[in-house]
Amino acid sequence: MKKNTFTTIWKSNFTTYGIVLLFFAVMMILMATGNLSRLMRGQLVPICAYAIMAASLNLTVGVLGELSLGHAGFVSIGCFGGGLAAALLHDAGAGELVCLAGAVLAGVLLSTLAGFLIGLPVLRLNGDYLAIVTLACCQIIKSLLTNLFVGRDESGLHTGFLTQPEGVAADAFVIRGSQGLRNAAVIDNFPAAVVLLILCLIIIYNLIDSKSGRAIMALRDNKIAARSIGINITSYKMMAFVVSAAMAGAAGALFGLSQATVLPGKFDFNMSVLILVFVVLGGLGNIRGSVIAAALLTILPEKLRFLADYRMIIYAVVLIVVMLMRNSTVFHGLGEKIQGLLRRKKTAGSPPRDPDTDPAGKEG
């Protein structure tokens, strides 16, 4: 039985890794044969970044069970911090991969720090109050970044807050207030992005399927019971929140470097919501779902460009309709029937044990 349990988990995780690698292979082939549009080509790294953002947010929302509306804040910290690190490395003559690795590392460190500083006071709150406070934190981070100036030239690093530092040439700025981040070199490395995505997925999956992950899910299901069996609620809440923030930082660095410029205004409430939509549509607690939803919903709007002005309206309607369908009894009954059929195919006696199952028991 033991073996069986472990193999089920491994199988499930590897399916996800497999899907990512398959996506990678297909894209590489399309690229090699010249069948990938320039537009799609430019979306590949962002897709990986969004997938990491969604998977990491799922750790907070689906696994820990706390609603965060401020994920974009951590992404922006990673994006700007990473951009700065990459610029400095680039000046020092480092190669593309070193710049990218340095940026991701810097993004992770900064957003881990931010996650810790924000989480420490804020995680005492619950439910909707936590949601609004994370939203507030995201807005604050956005305001701060909008007023940050960092430039570098021969005489070193020049920083300014609220006011631009004097005597720095315009093109010496890496971060320039509301004009945002301007990258010294755009790094649009799809294979590296896939490696980072898989790395993040491994960390998330391994965390979930360990004593720490169990404790985090225990908090989600019943805090009082978790306390009664001696689990330190605060530290596990913190762990999930900080790991989630750290990966958002990595995704931010990855995303930021793939763009020529990034405005701080990009990382607002709507961005947080966009990531949350990936998570909810992919299924709470379902990491694979988050990744797939992130990829599809990033590609879809591009494919719908011909709809021009109607595009976002259709997106909104689809969002509402999917939510309504997910919760309507008719659809739900149908979903269960399909699940039942699938279940019957599996060997009898061992009920499916999937760490990815949606806690609400609903499939998107």
Binding site: D128, T146, V280, Y310
Partner: protein, 293 residues
């Protein structure tokens, strides 16, 4: 005198936030949902009034009433079509749906009214009031915002305390199932809540746009978030809390702009919110709930 002038402006802005926050707080108190589309009702209301008055030549008061009426219908329709089917769903599904509605309203408005800012002429054409030898100038919009907010508060409090429907609303907010057993129609009560909240949002929209004075499809977004913050600030679900939260938020925002930094005024508002919630986790006037073991 600057201080006094800022204070009056802060209270005026706060009054508008308070009227919007009422919609959030009532819907939260009764339907237990975060209606993120509420901010966009403001924008719809402002557009209706704008077109009614400046394209069809209706008098100002008629424009406001028309905006309130249409938003009332819109609010009830949204509740009926998008939120009612989700009454038993998890709160996250409702939240995402509300966000979907918000996107829908914003983008439809963009399609219908265009994405650009339009100048929103002042509905209140009277001369501003000058006090202290003209050193303190208070515009009529400012006074109207404060006056209307106070009137709305009084009327709403009386409505909730005294009328049968108001009592039903309190009952539903306390315990939906018990209210149902007492013969109260929960669906109807929630509809009424949305109707009131949306009509007030339209009113707030006209006041807000008169004060800025401009209007775009995204006009409602940020004030919506701020009003929501105000509701949480005062204690979400509490009507006096919405008033207090709205006023405080408005004053903090204007004072922050005047004395600390224009660019950081939003950051200051949100920082104060965080601090308040850390000291009082359910807001200033919020009820403390203890989970039963």
């Amino acid at each position: 005198m600057d201080f006094l002038s800022n204070l009056v402006n802060g209270i005026s802005l706060g009054s508008i936030y308070a009227v919007i926050a009422l919609g959030y707080t009532m819907v939260y108190g009764i339907a237990k949902m975060l209606n993120f589309a509420h901010g966009d009702i403001i924008m719809v209301g402002a557009y209706v009034c704008f077109y009614a008055v400046y394209h069809f030549g209706l008098p100002g008061w008629a424009g406001v009433l028309l905006a309130m009426l249409l938003c009332l219908i819109l609010g009830v329709a949204v509740e009926r079509l998008a939120y009612r089917p989700l009454r038993r769903a998890d709160s996250l599904a409702v939240l995402i749906t509300a966000i979907g509605v918000s996107y829908f309203l914003e983008n439809t408005a963009q399609l219908v009214f265009g994405a650009n800012n339009v100048f929103f002429p002042n509905l209140f054409e009277a001369e501003p009031i000058r006090l202290f030898d003209g050193r303190l100038v208070i515009s009529v919009v400012t006074l109207a915002s404060i006056g209307i907010c106070m009137a709305v508060m009084v009327i709403l409090t009386l409505f909730i305390e005294k009328t049968k429907l108001g009592k039903a609303m309190r009952a539903v907010s306390e315990d939906k199932d018990a209210a149902r057993l007492m013969g109260i129609s929960v669906d109807r009560t929630i509809s009424v809540t949305f109707a009131i909240g949306s009509a007030l949002a339209a009113l707030a929209g006209v006041l807000l746009c008169s004060a800025i004075p401009s209007l775009s499809p995204m006009t409602g977004s940020m004030p919506g978030i701020k009003a929501f913050t105000a509701a949480v600030f005062g204690g979400i679900g509490s009507i006096p809390g919405a008033l207090l939260g709205g006023l405080l938020l408005g004053v903090i925002e204007v004072m922050g702009k005047a004395y600390i930094s224009t660019q950081l005024s939003d950051a200051i508002v949100f920082l104060v919110l965080i601090i308040v919630l850390l000291v009082r986790p359910t807001g200033i006037l919020g009820k403390k709930v203890q989970e039963k073991v």
